[in-house]
Symmetry: C2
Subunit: 356 residues, 2 copies
């Protein structure tokens, strides 16, 4: 009965440490106050900086994620239209599981050049994977792009796309102050029939791990409940971090949403996401963290992961906090990763609507 379930749920809220069976259960013991990190951004993971560069006339840009030291990394790609670089190197059966930087960019295939510039700069500094003493190191700079070529900006660059220049600017701008909205890779982004943009959010777990997300939202689907200005991510909002608009009690949303991208723009999508933590998870645990983080995009944008999206989640770790119980910690951090991704997506769209 509904009443039974309600009582049980309340009981579980009121009596932490005991499951409905009366046995102690870890999930209750792990209950926590909702708490973002001090910046509510991916820079709350100590050692991670973000730099953005925008070309307002071309309506495009580049975001660089720059760590103080190489990050362990894994990746999950979903949807029909990905545009990526160095993602194969992150497979679990390959040599490399640390990265020196990440680039997210507009510009579709042209935006992949952003990673070339970052690799060249870092390599010249001697930062990268070094196999043979005395020869250049190989900086591992995975990259992913979103499609903003048809957003009305001036794209007549011929053989000189701006992404290497933007990448250098973004690299030089890297700091722990992360901008939101129409900046960096989110400069020319659209989310369904609405402005898209760059968002970020963070969370401190009950065990003291930080989990944070950075998201450039350029989705086919919409971040809004149809016919309202409520964000799909509203149930996961902390405070008024994206307007505090709540959810309609009865959304009646079944069926194809009316505010996805129009037909002519159908192929012009993809959301780019980075989830970061300080938990010392193995690459084999970062991969499922990325998989669970994709569910945050599913909750924040509808539909997501479509045939014209190339949605990608990089999961990275600074590996600074020990993880004695990987299975339970991964389960909890994966669930939280979904939340921070949903919140980062809504914060990006919210910041973009303020500027539009």
């Amino acid at each position: 009965m509904a009443r039974t379930v309600r009582m049980r749920a309340l009981q579980s809220m009121l009596a932490p440490g005991l499951g409905t069976s009366g046995q102690p259960c870890a999930t209750d013991a792990r209950r926590q106050v909702m708490k973002p990190g001090p910046k509510n951004s991916i820079a709350d993971v100590a050692g991670i900086k973000v730099g953005n560069a925008s070309d307002p006339l071309a309506k495009t840009g580049v975001t660089v994620l720059l760590p103080d030291a190489p990050l362990r990394a894994a990746v999950d790609v979903r949807g029909g239209g990905p545009g990526t670089r160095e993602t194969d190197a992150l497979a679990l059966d390959t040599l490399v599981d640390r990265i020196d930087a990440l680039t997210l960019a507009g510009g579709s295939v042209y935006g992949l050049a952003a990673a070339d510039e970052v690799a060249a700069v870092l390599g010249a500094r001697g930062q990268g994977f070094g196999l043979i003493p005395g020869v250049p190191v190989s900086p591992i700079v995975p990259a992913a792009i979103l499609y903003d070529l048809a957003n009305g900006g001036e794209k007549g660059w011929g053989e000189e796309p701006p992404y290497r220049r933007l990448a250098r600017e973004a690299l030089e701008a890297a700091s722990d102050d992360v901008s939101l909205g129409a900046v960096g890779a989110g400069t020319g982004a659209t989310a369904g029939d609405h402005p898209g943009g760059l968002g970020t959010a963070s969370f401190l777990s009950s065990e003291g791990y930080t989990v944070a997300a950075l998201a450039a939202v350029n989705s086919f689907g919409s971040p809004y409940v149809p016919g309202t200005d409520s964000f799909w991510a509203a149930p996961f909002e902390i405070g008024d971090e994206f307007g505090g608009r709540g959810m309609p009690e009865r959304a009646g949303a079944a069926g194809f949403p009316p505010d996805t991208k129009a037909a002519a723009l159908a192929r012009q999508n993809t959301s780019l996401i980075v989830v970061a933590t300080d938990a010392d998870l193995s690459a084999a645990d970062l991969k499922p963290l990325a998989v669970m983080a994709q569910d945050g995009l599913a909750r924040a944008v509808r539909p997501a992961h479509g045939p014209t999206d190339g949605d990608i989640v990089f999961a990275v770790s600074t590996c600074t906090k020990e993880v004695p119980q990987p299975l339970m910690t991964l389960t909890e951090l994966g669930s939280i990763a979904g939340d921070v991704v949903a919140r980062a997506c809504a914060r990006g769209a919210f910041a973009a609507e303020e500027k539009s």
Copy 2:
């Protein structure tokens, strides 16, 4: 501004056929009245029958999906603990892309035997993939299992698990009347700290395609918004198909949910899902349909796709309705597949709570 977005969304609702740019857009033209099929079940896809068999003492069971003719099929597996059979055969680069039946079962690894029985029965009837005239055909019967071994039922079966017997009973019971709740593969299922079960739902698209789902929900995560009896799937509910409880305006749900499965039960999960349509999609289009359908589980259960789940979506088609524009149709049906999966999950849990 919030106001701008609200106005724009309303405008888009009121002026179908015109996007915000003033150009006609397919998404508006495709807008539709929310409409399930006549049975609101997977049997609304003509030619698909479902049979259930339960062992109430052992608290386990089997569900068989039996088509009138072989179904084109693809599969998407996610999470750390899958238990499957004949899923490799459904990869896009393999010989077979039609299946003769599907089994979903409790019993963890023992439940895979359900498919053996179905294959033996169908093979004896001459139904299956035939390579050489005069030798037995090979019925393709993919299967997936969920973990219900520790749910308190009598499992002392030694070398004689009941799944072949249950599979035969389920096969003989196959009809277009699909039961919900603690039946078939959902007999012994739990959903987080709540009863789980078998659910189903359907939808008629604007172009006349039927999309439907069958879900055995046995998730680590919970189908309820924490501290309430509201289903996460509430925004997609049609009528009062799972109680009409709506969503809380402010859920404040960020953080690890309190009502997941307790630690001792952490490995005892997995939701098994079938999405069916009559749209004549290729196997290469059914795979992304399964991927988008997984997002329905993400919206209905939180967390989903965790390291102790082996969540699986089979996407199947009777291939009876032509698809002139596969890309747009796949996008729409994929979005709808997410909705029907979310609704099927909530209907399964709702029916199970009524019986508990």
